[in-house]
């Protein structure tokens, strides 16, 4: 909360992107989250990524459920579309929106509570369907909005500020996505924009479901000594396995790299992602290997980060359902609703 809003200062020093917009054109309302909340940092990273990708703000649609994390679409891209769904139902709403207009950038922002407790079903199915969207889980291990109860992502043995133990095993959204055939699976940390911003850009450009699990400390209820999702703990235990460089398709690719250590991936729009293996043993193209690697490191108390798995050939929902290339919102009325006769013909075909 703040009594004043971030002032619009007309000052010439700010850079402009290809659309002639400054980063301030990508902002939203003033955050009402607690000062220092990791979620605000992710908001800032989203703003930066959209600015750098030259996304026209009105070509984005922001989707969220309920929670502190789900409030954040109010704080970026003021000019974008947005739907704030009921608790845990953002993936369902996003699926509908995406079905109607496939030409927008879908940015889903959810929490560990919103996606892994009440919303686990819709979340899982949106991965299976390879819905074309960026899906960010702002993961703080608690229900921040309802005052810090453990969520389904809290680690065994982590404690509340007063010392109560969490005794249930966590659901790791990254492992879940890998097991469900997710085509883009990544993990990052709100306190590391150098890693986070390229991942957001890659996720927004990826055609299909891009899951980005971002450890995002809740300064108010989960940033203490016994927490495994605090700033200090995450910094001490995170382990960047794959570093991602995002190279927009307009830029000539000049980076030189050692074949074994770097996996280049060409995206559908011509952009390129360079997956730089920090750990040479890691293979970002094999979900099975990825799962055992992540589990193994988790047992050692390490949080594996980076773009952990990428399959750019997976077909998204529209491809599987064989829908028309043109967004439904742009179809003429007679095409969209061909009338009773056409319906009759469809029924006839099944008789």
């Amino acid at each position: 909360m703040s009594y004043i809003t971030k002032p619009k200062v007309a000052y010439a020093g700010l850079n402009k992107n290809k659309l002639g917009l400054t980063i301030r054109n990508y902002e939203g309302g003033m955050s009402t989250l607690c000062a220092g909340c990791g979620h605000d940092s992710i908001t800032a990273a989203l703003i930066q990524a959209c600015f750098e990708l030259n996304i026209p703000p009105e070509r984005a649609a922001k989707m969220s459920g309920i929670g502190c994390s789900s409030k954040t679409p109010a704080y970026f891209l003021n000019a974008a579309h947005g739907i704030n769904a009921v608790h845990g139902r953002m993936p369902a709403i996003a699926t509908g929106a995406n079905a109607a207009n496939r030409n927008l950038y879908y940015i889903g922002v959810s929490g560990d509570g919103d996606s892994l407790s009440i919303g686990l079903g819709p979340f899982a199915h949106s991965i299976r369907r390879n819905l074309n969207m960026l899906y960010i889980i702002e993961n703080n291990g608690v229900y921040g909005l309802t005052k810090g109860q453990f969520s389904a992502s809290a680690d065994m043995g982590s404690t509340t500020p007063k010392g109560q133990l969490n005794q249930q095993p966590p659901i790791d959204p990254v492992l879940l996505a890998l097991s469900l055939g997710g085509s883009f699976v990544a993990r990052s940390f709100s306190g590391d924009k150098e890693q986070l911003v390229p991942l957001i850009k890659a996720g927004l450009t990826h055609k299909g479901f891009a899951l980005l699990d971002v450890i995002s400390p809740c300064v108010t209820f989960n940033d203490h000594q016994g927490s495994t999702k605090s700033y200090a703990y995450t910094r001490a235990h995170s382990h960047e396995t794959i570093h991602t460089d995002f190279i927009p398709h307009a830029d000539e690719i000049k980076v030189e790299y050692d074949e074994g250590a770097v996996v280049p991936v060409q995206l559908h729009d011509g952009s390129q992602i360079l997956l730089r293996k920090v750990d040479p043993d890691y293979n970002p193209k094999d979900p099975g290997d990825a799962i055992s690697y992540i589990q193994h490191h988790h047992e050692k108390g390490e949080i594996v980060t980076g773009l952990l798995y990428l399959d750019d050939n997976a077909r998204d929902l529209h491809a599987v359902a064989n829908t028309t290339d043109q967004p439904l919102t742009e179809l003429s009325y007679d095409k969209l609703c061909p009338g009773a006769k056409a319906l009759e013909d469809v029924f006839e075909a099944y008789r």
């Binding site: 909360m1 703040s2 009594y3 004043i4 971030k6 002032p7 619009k8 200062v9 007309a10 000052y11 020093g13 700010l14 850079n15 980063i23 301030r24 955050s31 607690c34 000062a35 220092g36 909340c37 990791g38 605000d40 940092s41 908001t43 800032a44 709100s190 306190g191 924009k193 400390p217 300064v219 940033d223 700033y231 200090a232 910094r235």
Partner: protein, 598 residues
Amino acid sequence: MNPTDTSNPDYFHKVVDCQWACPAHTDVPEYIRLIAQGRYTDAYMVNRESNVFPGILGRVCDRPCEPACRRGRVDEKPVAICRLKRVAADLCGEISQRLPTIPKKKNGKRVALIGAGCASLTVANDLLPLGYEIVMFEKLQQTGGLMRSNIPAFRLPPKVLDGEINIILDMGVDLRLGAPVTSLKELLTESYDAVFVGTGAPLGRNLEIPGRYDTDQIFVGIQWLESVAFGHTNSIGERVVVIGGGNTAMDCCRTSLRLGGKEVKVIARKPMDMLKASDWELEGAIEENVEMVTNHAPEEFIIENGKLTGVKFSEVEWYEDEDGRLRSKKLKDVVVPCDSVILAIGQENAFSFIERDIGLEFDNWDMPIVDKVTMQSTREGVFFGGDAAFGPLNIIWAVEHGHQAAISIHNYCQGIPVSDRPSYGMNLASTKMGIHEWSYSNDFDAITRRLVPHVSLNERFQNLNIEVELGFKAEQTVKEVERCLNCDMQTVFKANICIECDACVDVCPVSCLIIAKNGSEDELRLRLKTPALNKDQDIFVSETLPQTGKVMVKDENVCIHCGLCAERCPTGAWDMQKFTLNIPYATHSPCTKRKKIA
């Protein structure tokens, strides 16, 4: 980079651009806040402490603070600092209670001040409360120096001058009017413990070109303005040519309009963007329909049958030669018809009363050699200040010289080396009042600079003494005060409690913060989200941060002191703290510690 040393008062002082630029270091944001609260008398006293003449300076100060003002970098126009100073002076209440008490029992030291201009008056102001006996010699029958004799009454009414000068005279100056000092040597034989020379630069520069002495219609600006001010001159020809392009030229042309001039031209050698006159003085003249003619070099006064009929000029073009020096090339001759000419091409010192065998050395330009810090000449016990010290400057510099000379004189009379200077101190106090509350108005107000109303062109020429500027109305004042960015509300950082959550970096509306790996200054400047290209402004680098070993970097250039960084910081690592510069004066030095200068 090494961590920034913010314990040196200079660091935060420099952030307060206006105060840093003011020769006397007036605490501008503090008095603007006091005006905003309607505390005009308090605002006046804050001013008076450093600049001594708030009512005068609120009208005619050269205002080096305004081009320095951060607001000018944030949205083009600086805060109307000078106009606000006038508001404080115009609405100031009774201050006699707040003036220093003058001890009945004197300290036994006598100081002679030569000249009754602002420099000498400041010395008197600073020494009288310490029990000094002050004898002030003035050649003219009036006090005030050029402020009275040259700055026209339509810019600076005598009432305002008298009010502020009398405050000082009433402290007990032994004033000798009509008493020119004709021999410094002789004065030095009298029983003075120290002498201060505040005689100004009283001569106007002459222009020796053909025809100069063949008419009585060519006047030297400085002398002419003085004779107008003292009522000896009350008319001028209808067509007037003022030669020059500085502030004196502006006063001469505007004064001519009030004495019967109908067609008044200011003609200068240099192009418009190189004229010495301040923008507001130029605007003042242009508003009164004075024609500005540039790139014209005077060649000859044309006299026909003993009567001045015009001036011949060479119209010139300027270019840079190989060495980058500016040179002019003649294009053609131009004759400008006129009835009177006023020369306003410069001001010179006159030290005929100083003998050259008294151990007081002069340089090649016949200027006394004066120490820039102590204001002492090469003869011990003789000090200089104002225009007499280093040539013509302005009122606020004369005041600052006066303060420094007073410190030196006090030292000298107490047997302390004059080079022993009391140091500047500072105070920092948190302004946090609640989770989102600060004890100052931290929100940014995007309003543009207010314009001060003027007396209409119809009315203002009716007599010589109508003050043109009316001062801000209440509605303008309340808006203009909000434009001040409160640059003295400093962002103070504690590295050890920062958890590197980036909240401050993300919220800063002008992107002037980053957390980054340390590097060289040049490189850090480029790595800021908005590159810190203004090298006149410092960048702050913190101690190493605990979690990642990076550093917090802040570009001071366009910080608007909104306090959002501190408000969004969960640990209080950033705080907004009110900075107060403790300026040493002869009367009270903030620290007993004195800094020695080489």
